[in-house]
Symmetry: C2
Subunit: 296 residues, 2 copies
């Protein structure tokens, strides 16, 4: 069990781009400041909602250095390092640790529609990263990996690799899976989290979640749900959740990762809500087939 237990709201920082597709590094700094101003408990970078799958390795390093230097310990930073190659995940993990990351986020290895790793190799993958970086790891259990991670396997992973102590569950039936994982893993589970824009937050808190990893759209409105629930004020927590659910629902089902960018661009935090081509913008603009690829 790690000395510090992280809990609360750990949103994902979006990666802002200029309309040209260039990284907007000034915007990235403002994104982080905005998130800290909104009272987040920590920040996760280079996740899928950061469009990590649209970045080169050099850009990942640029963003890692910039974000960790700019956060400067004001809140703990989680860095996503997944790669199909264990060796490359290990190299990314060492770099993240050296740059000041407090935790690593990892999906199981995957590539495309069908390349997956067997459970033995997944376990070796997490073990190699844990041994190299010596900081806690949060497993991201999401459909994008195309890998079904059973509760017994996740509990085994937590027992055999003690730094694998956090679990961000965002699958169909997250609340039930969190409940089963807490039961199966016991003290090895330092942080059962949910994800997916916090769209199932109330059920997940009821199931025992101690943290959530939403987008960075409005962590200041998600935080009271977690705080009230933690204080035993379940009814007030449910009211606070019901108040924000329409927007979370719209984000989760209509916008995807661009939702936060649209809000931050409207609010003047970033200059453009552009996502990188070939990712589809959430609201295609009529008669502008080129809008989505302006950032080629």
């Amino acid at each position: 069990m790690p000395a510090t237990i992280y809990s609360g709201v750990f949103p994902i920082a979006p990666t802002p781009f200029a309309v040209s597709g260039d990284l907007d590094l000034d915007g990235q700094r403002r994104v982080l400041d905005c998130m800290i101003d909104r009272g987040v408990d920590g920040i996760c970078i280079l996740a899928n909602y950061s469009e990590q799958f649209l970045l080169s390795d050099d850009e990942r390093n640029t963003l890692l250095d910039l974000c960790l230097a700019h956060v400067a310990g004001r809140v703990p930073a989680i860095v996503t390092i997944s790669h199909f190659s264990t060796r490359i995940a290990v190299a990314r993990a060492k770099r993240a640790k050296a740059t000041g990351a407090k935790m690593l986020m990892m999906m199981p290895p995957y590539h495309g529609a069908s390349l997956r790793a067997v459970e033995g190799a997944i376990l070796e993958y997490f073990k190699a990263v844990a041994e190299a970086a010596r900081i806690p790891i949060i497993v991201q259990d999401a459909p994008l990996s195309g890998t079904s991670l059973s509760v017994p396997f996740l509990a085994q992973l937590a027992r055999e690799v003690p730094l694998v102590a956090y679990f961000k569950i965002e699958v169909a039936g997250t609340a039930s899976k969190l409940r089963a994982l807490i039961e199966a893993g016991g003290r090895a589970i330092a942080g059962p989290f949910d994800g997916e824009e916090s769209i199932t937050l109330m059920a997940d808190l009821d199931a025992g979640a101690t943290g959530t990893m939403p987008s960075a759209m409005f962590p200041n409105l998600i935080n009271p749900v977690v705080q009230l629930h933690r204080a035993g004020k379940r009814s007030e927590a449910a009211d606070a959740f019901a108040h924000i659910l329409p927007l979370i629902n719209y984000e989760n089902r209509q916008c995807g990762l661009q939702g936060t960018k649209i809000v931050m661009a409207k609010g003047g935090v970033i200059k453009s809500d552009a996502v990188r081509h070939t990712l589809a913008p959430c609201i295609p603009r009529p008669g502008s087939g080129c809008w989505s690829c302006a950032g080629n």
Copy 2:
């Protein structure tokens, strides 16, 4: 229609690794020499059978430079440049062209189990690369991308982006798809190829394929099938194919990309048949759970 029409056997070069997981650059040179000695019509590098999904960007560049310098125009080189980001695919394409590539191979953009691009964005993606690199492109139509590319869409792509003139079809029903594509695309289809270790080669040649992209296991045995068929000696071509089909079948269904490595290691071309963790070796060795991750 491009000035030079490529046809014949264009195998994929494997990327050899030491047992430690390091790139084996001397082995890479011997792999290329071996392929050229076996009479290939061209060589494709950085494909999925080259374990491209297990490489860092720096390693891709190292291999690109080394392979193109070592092939040195002895045969045409095809370089795979797929990336979910159009901008990164364009950068890779420009670099490949500048290094001497004669053709680019591209899958449609994909990430993980579910991130896919719409047809409009796929078309823009190929167009942006063609305009930037000005060399022919071969579309890789394979299940790994999780993207269904219809014959009308592929024909549209060939018409609207004339450099997209080659098509490597390796899906269920490849022969039928090649036949339909040749019918729909007409002169815009400069090179209908198959792939998938040439396991459906006879049917695909009958359907009009003019090239094949197998592994590098035995291009010298695949070449006669293509040559005999081209010369109108279909029966002899079928005999030559039947002779090698048991090994192709074993490779396709049991070995995957490691098959070529095992043969090349046995033959002294490379030192080790290792694949990079987390990829599973094709034949797990009893009692050695660590064999597969020796290259962590």
